[in-house]
Symmetry: C2
Subunit: 325 residues, 2 copies
């Protein structure tokens, strides 16, 4: 009988969640109301906007949307630390401009290097490792390396209000996906633990993998070759490739997310699209049009036209990080 009660409690919990405030880090703003209304409507069988659980797909960009991306993308910082190790072993590598910029903390060059920089840093630094070895290295680093401003492990620099949205959607039958320009395997190393998102729900950039049998042991290894970066118009392609369904919820923060938001809001049913707008230069950072990292210009123009919700970090969020309180 106890088991029945537990099951009943679990089934009833989305309803309870609505009454006990599933988004406590949000102020009582328009955005919060829209999110709650949206989820209530698409999960209500009596609503004309009802969506079956199998179709409840929500996609989230990572850097700047759920994870702090300033002063530099987290994976860049990780790669820089890794480059330092590599150069210690082989000083010849210092001739590589991207490697040099990474070591010297030349943020401008790195930010400007864009796709090419990511390719060199993603590919060259970890070629030959098995995916398992790589994920272990990333997980250890995410646990130990500290953000220069907050002095907390990088994985703790997740926005608490976004973490709450992800959990709220999950409990309401949504499959929540990360759709990011960062590396798929980089994300897999920590997203299950921190966000409850399993490896098959990460859509990210990737290097080509290779299957081989080494000393009798089958293994899948990373190569230097980087596939097309999962950013901009590649995001809807990544979504179609990995998910095969058009999302009904999308959260982004930069122009690299515009195509993903357009793709989501072209869904015939009811959709929820939102942009995290970095407006808080006291608790976090304030940036949009003039920033290399998280550049947001087209997105701002299109938000109003397309009915995308702008999330005002300064005014909408009570708490930004879990360690804020």
């Amino acid at each position: 009988m106890l088991r029945i009660f537990i099951v009943f409690f679990l089934i009833a919990s989305p309803v309870c969640a609505l009454t006990i405030d599933p988004l406590p880090s949000w102020k009582e703003c328009e955005t919060k109301k829209k999110i709650l209304d949206f989820v209530r409507t698409v999960t209500d069988k009596k609503s004309k906007h009802y969506v079956r659980p199998s179709q409840r797909v929500a996609v989230f960009d990572c850097d700047g949307t759920i994870l702090c991306e300033k002063p530099l993308y987290t994976q860049f910082v990780f790669a820089r630390d890794r480059v330092k190790l590599l150069v210690d072993k082989n000083p010849e590598l210092k001739k590589n401009k991207i490697f040099q910029a990474a070591i010297e903390g030349d943020r401008k060059t790195l930010a400007k290097s864009g796709s090419k920089g990511i390719q060199v840093l993603l590919g060259d630094t970890h070629a030959g490792l098995t995916t398992e070895q790589y994920e272990k290295i990333v997980a250890d680093w995410m646990n130990s390396a500290k953000h220069p401003r907050y002095k907390k492990a990088y994985k703790k620099c997740v926005y608490q209000p976004m973490k709450e949205i992800i959990a709220f959607l999950q409990v309401n039958g949504f499959k929540t996906y990360i759709v990011t320009g960062s590396g798929r395997d980089f994300m897999r190393a920590w997203c299950k633990q921190e966000l409850g998102i399993p490896p098959n729900q990460i859509v990210g950039s990737s290097c080509k993998l290779k299957f081989e049998i080494k000393d009798g042991t089958p293994q899948v290894c990373r190569t230097k070759i980087i596939d097309e970066l999962n950013d901009g118009p590649v995001k809807p392609v990544g979504i179609q490739t990995m998910i095969g369904l058009k999302p009904i919820v999308a959260f982004g923060n930069s122009d690299g997310d515009v195509a993903m938001l357009q793709w989501t809001s072209s869904n015939k049913g009811k959709t929820l699209c939102a942009i995290v707008h970095h407006t808080d230069d006291v608790r976090e950072y304030s940036y949009d049009k003039v920033s290399h990292v998280g550049h947001l210009e087209k997105g701002l123009e299109l938000a109003d036209k397309n009915g995308w919700q702008l999330i005002d970090m300064k005014n909408d969020w009570k708490t930004i990080f879990s360690f804020d309180q």
Copy 2:
């Protein structure tokens, strides 16, 4: 109260399934016993081989493993029908040797053309279509085109015993994936309906996709460019890419599945690997070492060494197709 009972029934159903024979199309053979024992063991919390639901990943090849692949791979037949339509519109295309072989039913050339043939037939025949349009065409064809020998729709040429295994694993908390050399989008068009396998659980060959906004409508279209075929050593790579976990169950039927079986059986926990051996020339087809389609030689050598179960279609299966009875 009714809801509680329904939930209770659903929870209890895997147990019921074990007592009411979840595999009625199987004779009481060694293979059936091994499958039932395996599932019972890995789902039993008291067993030292217990596997948490999140780690219960089962992979299935398609052609020759769950779907009849003789006299020709189903997707080849589909592409042939499509080529006929294209050539009617543009006779110039007849100069293409692969197209010509497809139209003339030159099975030998097509079977021999292997990867290249698949590339031409997959890529050139549907470039420019949106993935939605393409899946609609495939679904219609799978419903209407008939297998030349069985005179049944192609989607009905699924092996009933394999359909039962897939359903049995699903009800026992497994995520069941198709891992096939055939096209991912080709499979997505019919696998949800026939096998209960959703689009995000199909790992297959693919063409490059392109996002564009056409007349104000965002769309994802197919291009001519074919990615590496998902066969042989590419299968474990596809598994790592799409799933990110090592499977504990794998079913294949040809040498193209050997790497996938090796990858699965390298899992440290208990695994179940099996090869469907085509031994029934009365009810289906009998072939292995000398066949172009579904060539099986290395797999036979390795099965014994690795403890992979050989499924003897003639002697292990009571029924082959649902329309057999």
